[in-house]
């Protein structure tokens, strides 16, 4: 019984209800950290961890948490996990921690996590809530990686810091700046919806 359910959760998190291009959540960090793939990957992993753990914790406490103060409780839980990620990065991956700077701390305000806690974890058992967090986080990370891939490729001529385009490549300066984040996100949503529409038409 667990495996088809897990599949549904992942389908929803990664595609049907993808937080970034369906619900347009988490846009701030989607624009800010997507000019280098390494940073994006770490940010994505951080978010997956925080969303999954917060979901599981909120779910575990769902029966005893008074309804009135549930938001406060959720923020407390999310903030604690984010601080754990921040401490971990500072201690074990200092270079990445430097590169991400304040954005790790800003995971706290990422609407995806609170959205999943409110919308799913609060009314579902621990294990599905945990999986749901991983699924939504993965959906977020994949979209960001797709955007970062194009921005890093055209803006630096590299992928994960490894040079792939020839030496003579003239980097597109705009790609490393914030506006390119907007362009790429819009293009991504456009492509994703076109694919979706074609699929529906075929089915219909």
């Amino acid at each position: 019984m667990a495996s088809p359910k897990a599949r549904t959760i992942f389908r929803k998190g990664v595609w049907d209800e993808n937080p970034v291009f369906r619900q347009i959540l988490g846009i701030c960090s989607a624009l800010a950290v997507t000019n280098l793939m390494t940073n994006t990957l770490i940010m994505g992993l951080g978010l997956i961890f925080v969303t999954a753990m917060s979901g599981a914790t909120v779910s575990a406490l769902r029966k005893i948490t008074p309804d009135r103060i549930r938001m406060m409780v959720q923020v407390l839980i999310i903030a604690s996990y984010v601080m754990m990620v921040d401490i971990f990065l500072q201690a074990y991956l200092p270079d990445i921690s430097k590169a991400l700077g304040p954005y790790v701390g800003l995971i706290i305000t990422n609407c995806i996590i609170m959205g999943r806690c409110e919308g799913y974890a609060r009314v579902n058992p621990v294990w599905p809530a945990f999986l749901d967090g991983i699924a939504s986080g993965t959906g977020y990370a994949l979209v960001l990686l797709a955007i970062a891939f194009i921005r890093e490729l055209l803006g630096f001529g590299s992928v994960f810091g490894i040079r792939v385009l020839p030496e003579g490549w003239v980097p597109w300066t705009i790609m490393v700046m914030a506006p390119a984040g907007f362009f790429m996100l819009a293009v991504f949503i456009w492509v994703a919806y076109s694919v979706e529409n074609r699929a529906t038409r075929k089915r219909g």
Binding site: N35, P66, L76, S80, M83, A91, G101, M175
Partner: protein
């Protein structure tokens, strides 16, 4: 009333639990984080003084090399790192931190000068918040390497130690290539580097003349 009291207590206990866990993690990792910082700085000092380990050695090796080849002193209100030769006595250079405003935030750098204080040994920009790919390119080797071997003459009034010129138009020993597309970063860097050098170089010359370093 009972429900309200429970809410307060519940929040209190939950906060206590979570802050304890986070604090514990923080305390457990504090030394490691501080060590990372110190190590980064030591590696940087060794690199700008050209003592640096050619390949990336272990943390312990780096710390050991630092303690053997660098003597810590002070230059006004900032630290001064005196680079020593293999014998542990001969001075091979002086390194000191400089900092100033960049475009988005402060830029911090480590400058190393030759023992006679007539020449730049190296410079490394190690903390900044400039745009990646634009102003952020100040950390790239081609930019930092330009400073190596440049003569260090205290300029006459109204002049600067170094000028950043549009790439390809830099002539003479005091002119260097700026970064294309990062006009503001280049302009501010030129300004603060000059101000900092004007503060530190005369002081260093003075300390050396009185053989205090």
């Amino acid at each position: 009333m009972k429900g309200r009291l429970f809410s307060v207590l519940y929040m209190f206990v939950l906060s206590l639990v979570f802050t304890s866990v986070v604090s514990a993690l923080n305390v457990l990792n504090k030394d490691r984080i501080r060590q990372n910082e110190a190590l980064r700085l030591q590696g940087l000092v060794l690199t700008v003084l050209n003592i640096g380990p050619s390949e990336k050695g272990s943390a312990a090796e780096l710390a050991q090399l630092f303690s053997r080849r660098v003597r810590e002193a002070s230059l006004g209100d900032r630290p001064l790192y005196v680079g020593l030769a293999e014998d542990g006595k001969t001075v091979v250079g002086y390194a000191f931190p400089v900092s100033g405003p960049g475009f988005w935030g402060p830029i911090e750098a480590m400058v190393a000068v030759a023992p006679d204080i007539q020449k730049v040994l190296g410079i490394a920009f190690y903390r900044h918040s400039e745009t990646p790919g634009l102003g952020g390119r100040i950390t790239e080797a081609w930019f930092q390497n330009q400073f190596q071997g440049r003569p260090l003459q205290v300029p006459p009034a109204g002049m600067r130690f170094f000028y950043l010129k549009p790439p390809g138009t830099a002539h003479g020993p005091t002119e260097l290539d700026a970064i294309t597309g990062a006009t503001e970063t280049s302009r501010r860097l030129e300004k603060f580097l000059d101000e900092e050098l004007k503060k530190t170089i005369p002081l260093l010359l003075d300390q050396k003349a009185r053989s205090r370093v």
